[in-house]
């Protein structure tokens, strides 16, 4: 569905949902009652969703989990995690991670 009516409708619906989220409390604060459990759960959404995207990108290689040292993305990702942890610097994390991957690709061919 890379260029079809379905694709455009999908993008439109995602846009509407995102706008509805952003407008929700701003427009309806007086009338909106959200259960405390939902508010607590919302705090964990970014970490949960982004981790669920990151880990397969690092671990899955050619369709299967690869935890060996031959998995260059896993090594580069581990280095990037250390850089992010020690520096909290976004650009440095991306830069070091890419540089490690390129270096490993050069060496290991």
């Amino acid at each position: 569905m890379t260029d079809s009516a379905t694709l455009w409708l999908t993008l439109g619906v995602i846009g509407l949902i995102t706008f509805a989220y952003r407008l929700s409390f701003i427009a309806l604060m007086d009338r909106l009652r959200v259960p405390a459990l939902v508010t607590r759960a919302l705090r964990f959404v970014p970490v949960a969703a982004l981790t669920a995207i990151i880990v397969p990108e690092l671990v899955i290689s050619n369709g299967t989990a690869d935890l060996s040292l031959d998995n260059l993305r896993l090594i580069a990702g581990a280095v990037a995690i250390i850089v992010a942890w020690r520096t909290k610097n976004t650009l440095l994390t991306i830069g070091v991670g890419m540089a490690v991957l390129w270096a490993l690709q050069l060496v290991m061919g």
């Binding site: 999908t10 759960a41 690092l58 995690i81 994390t93 991670g97 690709q105």
Partner: protein
């Protein structure tokens, strides 16, 4: 605004990735103004490239973007006095970065002053224009970048830079551990629903860890309250 320095490469990488994922240039650009949320745009482009069904793409983006409700709740008290067209305009511009800038301003002793909403609007519009232009640059450059450069790896790296500093307490760490393990275990799940499933497991883990923390805390408190106990 140093925050723009982070937005420009992110937008360029998104533009390049969307084109390499098989989206047309017009769809890649349209997503930046219709959705206007970096991480959701990345994952949407990726799921479309993997031929996930439309409802899974929508469901995944809906979960990844849920955090915007938090921002809306947090800023709502500061914009209640504005007319609806202002509220709608500011809501459209409410990205991660715009939230960070607006809430800093509103938390100042004068609650952002009488023109706090103008600051929010200015920051939002600047971020919007920067995002559209950097997406355009990425879309144009994307076709020139050879696949050997592994530019797609910038996506997990960007998310690592967001997630790792957010792991400040045990519930957050439990969330990440469970979501990460489940995302691999569920990888072969039907219809590319693994991200949704792993995210929900991670959220439940975070809530449980928080509850356990709370009980432990309450227990300590009751013990402290009885200093004469042997």
């Amino acid at each position: 605004m140093p925050i723009l320095l982070g937005v420009i490469p992110f937008g360029m990488i998104y533009g390049a990735l969307a084109v390499s994922a098989g989206l047309t240039a017009s769809a890649s650009l349209a997503m930046s103004s219709v959705v206007f949320a970096g991480s959701a745009q990345f994952i949407t482009a990726q799921l479309i490239a993997q031929a996930a069904p439309w409802f899974v793409v929508i469901l995944t983006a809906a979960i990844v973007n849920l955090r915007h409700m938090l921002y809306s709740a947090s800023l709502a008290p500061y914009v209640q006095h504005l007319p609806m067209r202002w509220k709608a305009g500011l809501a459209y511009l409410l990205t991660d970065e715009a939230y960070a800038m607006a809430i800093t301003r509103f938390h100042q002793p004068d609650r952002g002053g009488a023109f706090g909403h103008w600051y929010f609007l200015g920051a939002g519009l600047t971020l919007w224009a920067t995002w559209q232009l950097s997406t355009l640059a990425g879309v144009m450059a994307g076709a020139l970048v050879p696949p050997a450069w592994s530019l797609d790896f910038a996506l997990p790296l960007t998310f690592i830079a967001i997630v790792v500093p957010a792991l400040k307490d045990r519930p957050a760490i439990a969330t990440a551990l469970v979501a990460g393990v489940m995302s691999v275990l569920a990888f072969d799940m039907l219809l590319k629903l693994s991200i949704v499933a792993a995210t929900l497991c991670g959220i439940v883990a975070g809530l449980l860890a928080e509850a356990v923390n709370g009980w432990a805390h309450a227990k300590r408190k009751t013990q402290d309250a009885r200093p004469n106990d042997p």
